[in-house]
């Protein structure tokens, strides 16, 4: 256990050299590297923080925007719904109106057609009945239809009840007009004289009688004295038939059944 002072001094120098060497090659570069890395990490952290803040701000912004969008969407939706409802109502009203119009038009048409049909029918039936009656009367009693009509009219004139007669007479006194016989067909002179005689005998004696032809009477004769009237007319029968047909038509073509 001895101390070699020369070795000691050499070792001191060696140690100091080693301190310098390690400072030069180890401590300084390591410290610098670590500092730089630390700084780098700090920078990155700062950067990350800044980015996070930015991202948060952006998120907030978009959230607000999203809420706003949702709000606007709801508003638009509500408005649109209201508008659609309004339009629906309007369209329904229009459709109803249209339907009512169409129905009215259709009903008018039906009515017109019915009237036309009835009119046609009436004429045809009247003609047919007239023909049939004429033929039947001719065949059965060898009688003329017009003759029979005149006969029937005189019969009616004869069998007039008192009230009707008084009514006709009353109107004749007031006006002092001639009695008018209108018929659907031309009356021959025999018939005319029979009629004039019957009027003179059973209604008003000596009254002037005028004859005229009116086709709308449909095979019949009408006597007009002042405002009183007496007639025998096939149209009356036809009117009954017409009424009957009309009733049948109404019951089969009523809108409820269509």
């Amino acid at each position: 256990m001895s101390i070699d002072w020369i070795t000691v001094s050499a070792q001191i120098i060696n140690f100091l050299i080693l301190v310098w060497l390690l400072k030069r090659f180890l401590y300084r570069p390591v410290m610098q590297a670590m500092d730089r890395r630390e700084q780098h990490i700090f920078e990155q952290l700062d950067d990350a923080q800044a980015r996070e803040q930015k991202a948060n701000e952006k998120m907030q912004y978009y959230l607000e925007k999203m809420n706003e969008l949702a709000r606007t969407r709801d508003e638009i939706l509500a408005k649109t719904q209201e508008k659609a409802e309004q339009q629906k109502r309007q369209l329904l009203d229009e459709a109803r109106l249209e339907v009512a119009k169409v129905r009215e038009h259709w009903q008018n048409q039906v009515r017109l057609e019915k009237e036309e049909l009835l009119d046609n029918l009436r004429h045809q039936v009247s003609n047919a009945v007239q023909g049939i009656a004429r033929k039947a009367l001719g065949d059965l009693a060898n009688a003329d239809l017009e003759e029979q009509i005149v006969h029937s009219f005189i019969g009616r004139l004869v069998s007039l009840d008192k009230e009707s007669r008084a009514l006709m007479l009353g109107s004749s006194d007031d006006s002092a007009e001639p009695a008018r016989i209108s018929s659907a067909f031309e009356l021959d002179s025999g018939a005319r004289s029979r009629l004039t005689r019957a009027i003179h005998e059973h209604l008003i004696d000596g009254i002037d009688v005028k004859y005229s032809k009116s086709p709308e009477l449909l095979c019949g004769i009408a006597l007009t004295v002042g405002e009183g009237q007496l007639s025998w007319n096939l149209a009356d029968y036809l009117e009954q038939l017409n009424q009957h047909i009309e009733n049948v038509l109404v019951s089969t073509t009523s809108p409820e059944k269509l």
Binding site: A10, L18, L21, L26, Y27, M34
Partner: protein, 229 residues
Amino acid sequence: MTISPDDIVFWRWGLFSLNATIVFTWIVMILLTLISWLVMRRLSTGTKISRWQNLLEVLVSGIRDQIREVGHQKPDKYLPFIGTLFLFIAVANILNMIPGYMAPTGSLSTTTALAICVFAAVPLYGIAYEGPFNYLRHYIKPTILMLPFNIIGEISRTIALAVRLYGNIMSGTVIVAILLSLTPYFFPVVMQLLGLLTGMIQAYIFAILAMVYIAAATSAHTESTYKKY
């Protein structure tokens, strides 16, 4: 039996003799410098670093943390001195397991040299920190009567530092040598392992004590100033 590497002389020139202590010290120095240079040559400042760089960074930052803990001061100023003490003693002791190698720390000359360095560093750091007048005033505190005792304490702790390291390392070598002659196979291996442990512990103790002495010289009023860091 050769106890001290000082006794192995390779070359002599006048009073100077190139003995094993100096040669092995050079080897340790070259090894440390070479490793540092090789690793630091490809230094990375990014987050991806090589294993060797990572090892050196852990080592350096560990030493810094220890200095900070012991000295309660900013470690950068003391790092070269304390760090080199630790690294030199540690590497010199670890290499002891290589056959034919003799740790320079097993020589009292080396440990004395290191202790003298600490002995010189303590007042130097103290004066650098507080100025010469303030520093020297510590020797006459609390009274001037304490001056001789303070000086004796300073010297004795330096000697203790030197002898502790020398004794531990030398004894390890001696114990291995003795056991080799008694039980040649198993025990020397265990003792070598133990030697590695004591070698590391001694390096740690030497460096820490050096730091404690320096801190004592500079920390008369550092408690308040340290809080700045």
